[in-house]
C-alpha cells in the first residue's frame, strides 16, 4: 500500500513537467531543490538533533567554490561540483570539530553556526577573490555540458534527482547503525556516551555529510541562477529556509523536508494570489514568511514532530 503510493507519487513527479506550463515546472524545481537543502539540514538538525542557525555557510561555500573554479580558473562546472561538495564537507568537519570539542550544545551550537556564517559573509563581502559585494556573475552559455540549461525541464529533473538522493540518504539513516547512533545522541547525549558511542566523532561525521550535501545544493543554485553574492550565499534567509521546511515538515523523518517544502511552495503561491486580489500587499515574500514563522511557532507548540506525524498517525 505504502510502496504503491510512493511509486504513484514518483510517477506523477516524473510526468509533471510534460503536462504543465513552464512557470509551474520552475515552481516544481524550486520545491525539490528546497527539499534537498532542507534534507541536508535534517541530517544533522533532525536525525542528530544538532540545531543549526547557519547552514547557509555550507550552501555559500559550495556556491562560491564552484563559481570561483569556473569563472576565475576556467574549470568545467560539472568538474567543480564534486570539489565544491567536498569543500562543504570539509567546512562542516572543521566547524563541528571546533564547536563540539569545546563542548557546545543546543542553543550555543545554533548561535555559533550563525556567527560562522556571518564571518564567511563578511569575508566574501570584502575579499578580492569573491569580487566582494558585487557578487559573481557566471557567463551565460546554456549548454548542458556547461551545467547550464536552455529549458526549465532539465533543472527540474536534476533537482528531482538531488531530492531522491537525499531521500535515499535519509532512508539509509533510518536503517543503518550510524543513523541509530545519531538518534541516540539526539535523545540523550550522556546516555549515548555511556553506551560506548563516540559522540564527538559521530557528530563530526554527520556535520561533514550535511555540509557536503548543502554545498552540492549551493553549486546547483549558482548554476541555475548564474549569479551569487555574499547575502544570497551566506545570509540568514537560506539558513532559516532550510530549518523551517524541516521543522514544519517533521525533523528527523525521511519525508519531513519534502513535506515542508511542498507546504512552503503552496503558501508562496497562495500569498501570490492573495497579493493579486489585495493590491496593498505588494510584497509577497515577507507575507509568506510571516505565515511560515507563525506555523513554526504552532508546530513547536502543538505538533513537535511536524506534518509528517499526521501521516504516520493515520497509517498506524
Amino acid at each position: 500500500m505504502r510502496n504503491a503510493a510512493l511509486a504513484a507519487a514518483l510517477l506523477a513527479a516524473l510526468v509533471y513537467p510534460l503536462l504543465v506550463p513552464n512557470y509551474l515546472i520552475t515552481v516544481g524545481m524550486l520545491m525539490f531543490f528546497t527539499a534537498f537543502i532542507g534534507q541536508s539540514w535534517n541530517v544533522s538538525g533532525g536525525f542528530a538533533g544538532q540545531t543549526s542557525f547557519g547552514h547557509a555557510v555550507f550552501f555559500g561555500v559550495g556556491a562560491y567554490t564552484s563559481t570561483i573554479l569556473h569563472v576565475s580558473y576556467g574549470w568545467n562546472p560539472w568538474l567543480a561540483w564534486p570539489v565544491a561538495t567536498a569543500m562543504g564537507g570539509l567546512v562542516g568537519a572543521g566547524i563541528a570539530f571546533l564547536s563540539f570539542r569545546a563542548g557546545l550544545r543546543g542553543s550555543y551550537f545554533a548561535l555559533i553556526t550563525l556567527a560562522f556564517a556571518e564571518v564567511f559573509r563578511i569575508v566574501a563581502n570584502s575579499a578580492g577573490f569573491t569580487r566582494g559585494g558585487l557578487g559573481m556573475l557566471i557567463k551565460a552559455d546554456s549548454r548542458f555540458e556547461n551545467f547550464q540549461f536552455a529549458t526549465p525541464i532539465a533543472p527540474y529533473y536534476l533537482a528531482l534527482a538531488l531530492c531522491l538522493v537525499s531521500l535515499a540518504i535519509a532512508w539509509w539513516l533510518t536503517r543503518s547503525r550510524f543513523g541509530a547512533r545519531l538518534v541516540a545522541i539526539r535523545e540523550n547525549e550522556d546516555a549515548a556516551r555511556a553506551l560506548g558511542i563516540d559522540v564527538f566523532a559521530e557528530k563530526v561525521k554527520v556535520l561533514t555529510l550535511s555540509g557536503a550535501m548543502c554545498a552540492a545544493g549551493g553549486t546547483f543554485y549558482a548554476q541555475k541562477y548564474l549569479y551569487i553574492d555574499p547575502s544570497i550565499a551566506f545570509g540568514i534567509d537560506k539558513s532559516v529556509e532550510m530549518l523551517l521546511v524541516t521543522m514544519v515538515g517533521g525533523a528527523g523523518t525521511i519525508f519531513g523536508p519534502l513535506i515542508g517544502s511542498i507546504a512552503l511552495t503552496t503558501i508562496n503561491e497562495l500569498t501570490r494570489n492573495a497579493a493579486s486580489v489585495f493590491p496593498a500587499l505588494k510584497n509577497v515574500q515577507p507575507l509568506s514568511l510571516v505565515v511560515y514563522g507563525a506555523m513554526l511557532i504552532l508546530i513547536v507548540a502543538r505538533l513537535p514532530d511536524g506534518f509528517a506525524s499526521l501521516l504516520k498517525r493515520r497509517h498506524a
Partner: protein, 290 residues
Amino acid sequence: MLDPQIILAGVLNGLLAGGIYVLVAVGLTLIYGVLHIINFAHGSLLMLAMYAVFFLWKLSGVDPYVALPIVTAGAFAIGFVLYRGVIGRWSHGKDENILLITLGVSIIADNGALLFFGGDTETIDVPYAGKIIELGAAFLPLPKVISCAAAIAICLGLGLFMARSDTGKAIRAVAKERQGARLVGIDVEHIFAVSYGIGIACLGAAACLLMPTFYVTPQSGYAFVLVAFTTVVLGGMGSFVGAAVGGFLIGITESIGGLLLGEQLGQIGISLIFILILLLRPTGLFGARA
C-alpha cells in the same frame, strides 16, 4: 600606524556606542539569568521598538527622548504579554523549543516590518543632531553623549530596583533557586513574565536612545542580535557586570575595527569575538561555571 589621537577618538566613540549596547545586553542577560532561555527575538523586538519611536516622531512629532517613558512602558507590556501568551505557554520548558519559538517571533517581526513599513532606511531629524562636543581630537556628537549617559543611568536605576524592591528581590530569588522561590510563595510564572517584560522594556529605552543618531530598517534586528549575544557571552551569560563591561568592549571593538579594517571588514570583529569566546572561554569574563 594611525595617529594615537585618532585611536583615542575611536575609543571614545566606541564607549558612547557601547553605553547603548550595555542597555540592550542587560535586557538579554536578565532574561537569560532568570528564565534560562536564549531570546533570539531580542534584535527583532529592538527593531520594532525603533519603528515605534520613528512613527511617534513622524506622525505626531514626539521627540525620541520625550517618547522614552511611553515606548519603555509599551515595550514592557508587549514583553509581558508575549511571554504569557506565546513563549512561556508553548515552549513546554524545553531549551531548543524556546530558541525555535523566539526564532519564529523574530521571523514574523522582521517580515511583518518589511510587509507593512517597506524596506527603506528610516531616520529621524532632530534639531540637536549636528551639535558636537569637542574633546581634544575627538568630536563627540551631543545626542550620543546624552544617549550614553541616559543608558548608564537607566542601567543603574534597574540595578537599584533589582537590589531594593520586593519585585527585584523576587526576581533574584527565582534566578537563584526556582523551586525554593516557589516554596516561599513567589508566583514563579508571574516573575518570569515580569522579567521578560523588563528585558524588553530595556529594548524600548534603547530604541529611544538609538534613534537620534541611528537608522532603522527591517534588517536592523538581525544586525543587532549578534551584537547583543556577543556582548552577553563576552561578559558571561546572566551576569550584569559582565553585560556592562561587555557592552563597552564591543563598542570599542566595533569602532577600532572600523578604523583599522574599514567599514565592511570591521564588522568581522564582533562575530570573531563571539566564536572565540564560545570556543575558548564559554563562561565569559564574569560568568559562573554552568
